[in-house]
Every structure is written in structure tokens, then in C-alpha cells.
């Protein structure tokens, strides 16, 4: 049973890690802001929950488990909201495909 749990948490974290890397590569390589936002926003939440879940499986103490759950809830709540706010603000600022909003300093 112990072995099973540790393997499960390992798998969770590995999956999370793969997602993290793919998200980061997406953020780095995609051409457009909205594409990048998509890459980051989608992978972020899932990867974070996977890794936190893996950690939860590892924790023996109930207080730690509680804190991990709280963090997970927090991430689940804030991360999509932040993405949404970003997209909205970018759209409002007139950032369509072009980046005319962002002129470098004079």
C-alpha cells in the first residue's frame, strides 16, 4: 500500500512536471500574446494541482494535508482568474494581434 501511494504520487508529479515544461516552452515559443496566455493558463492550473496532489499523497500529518488543500483551492481560484484578468486587460488595452500599445521609451 505504501509503495502504491509513493508510486502514485511519483506519477502525479511526473505528469505535472511534463505539463510544466510544455507550458513553459509554450510561453516561450508561441508567437502571439494570447497564444502564450493560453499555453500558460491551461497548463498552470492542471500542473499545479497534479504536483500538489502528489505532495498530498506524501504527507503524513493532517495539518500539512489541510494546508496543501488550502493552497490547491487558492491556486484553483486565483490562477484562472488572473488569466482572465490578463486577457481582458490586454484586450481592453487594444492588444489585438499587434502590439501597438507597447511603444518603447522615447
Amino acid at each position: 500500500m505504501d509503495l502504491f501511494i509513493s508510486i502514485l504520487s511519483g506519477v502525479c508529479m511526473a505528469l505535472g512536471g511534463i505539463l510544466l515544461i510544455s507550458g513553459a516552452v509554450g510561453v516561450l515559443r508561441f508567437s502571439d500574446f494570447y497564444n502564450r496566455l493560453h499555453a500558460a493558463g491551461v497548463t498552470d492550473t492542471l500542473a499545479a494541482s497534479l504536483i500538489l496532489f502528489g505532495l498530498m499523497l506524501l504527507s503524513e500529518h493532517s495539518g500539512i494535508l489541510l494546508k496543501l488543500i488550502l493552497i490547491l483551492l487558492f491556486v484553483l481560484l486565483t490562477s484562472p482568474t488572473a488569466s482572465h484578468a490578463l486577457a481582458k486587460a490586454a484586450w481592453k488595452a487594444g492588444l489585438k494581434p499587434d502590439t501597438s500599445n507597447d511603444k518603447p521609451g522615447q
Partner: protein, 90 residues
């Protein structure tokens, strides 16, 4: 496994930093800052387990919180300044 994840997280943080440096628009940088913050939360959580003192998850929580607030704050700043400009013109 924990070590592998830590290294991965560090790598991802570096990638996000590169985006923050490069980012053609300001929003790219904010996005990078956000990604960076989430990764820091995870990093702190994993590091707590790695060093065997996982009592310090409070800090991860505060990171998540502060990250959210600062991203929202930056975005609101844009809206405020744009709104302010529109106000002056009318």
C-alpha cells in the same frame, strides 16, 4: 522524484524569466510574472518536503496570495491609467 520536480521547476522559472525579459508587450511580462509566481508557490511546497520540514507551507500560501494581488494590481493600473486618459480627453 522531489529533486526531479525541483529541477524542473527551476528550469521552468528560468524560461518564464526569459519571457519576462523578452516579452514584446507589457502583458507578456505580467504573464511571465504570474507564471513565475505560481512556480514559486510549487517550488516552496516541494522544497519543504525535500528538506523534511513541511511545516512551512504557510509561506507558499502567502506567495499564492501576493502573486495574485500584484498581478491584479498591475492590470488595474493599466485600466486606471487608460481610464484616466479617456477622462482627460472628453
Amino acid at each position: 522524484m522531489l529533486t526531479v520536480i525541483t529541477v524542473t521547476l527551476l528550469l521552468v522559472m528560468v524560461l518564464a524569466l526569459i519571457r519576462a525579459f523578452k516579452g514584446p508587450s507589457v502583458f507578456d511580462r505580467v504573464l511571465a510574472a504570474n507564471v513565475f509566481g505560481t512556480k514559486t508557490v510549487l517550488l516552496i511546497a516541494v522544497m519543504g518536503f525535500l528538506f523534511g520540514r513541511p511545516e512551512f507551507l504557510d509561506i507558499a500560501m502567502i506567495y499564492a496570495l501576493i502573486n495574485f494581488i500584484s498581478v491584479i494590481g498591475i492590470l488595474r493600473y493599466f485600466e486606471f491609467t487608460h481610464g484616466g486618459k479617456a477622462e482627460d480627453e472628453t
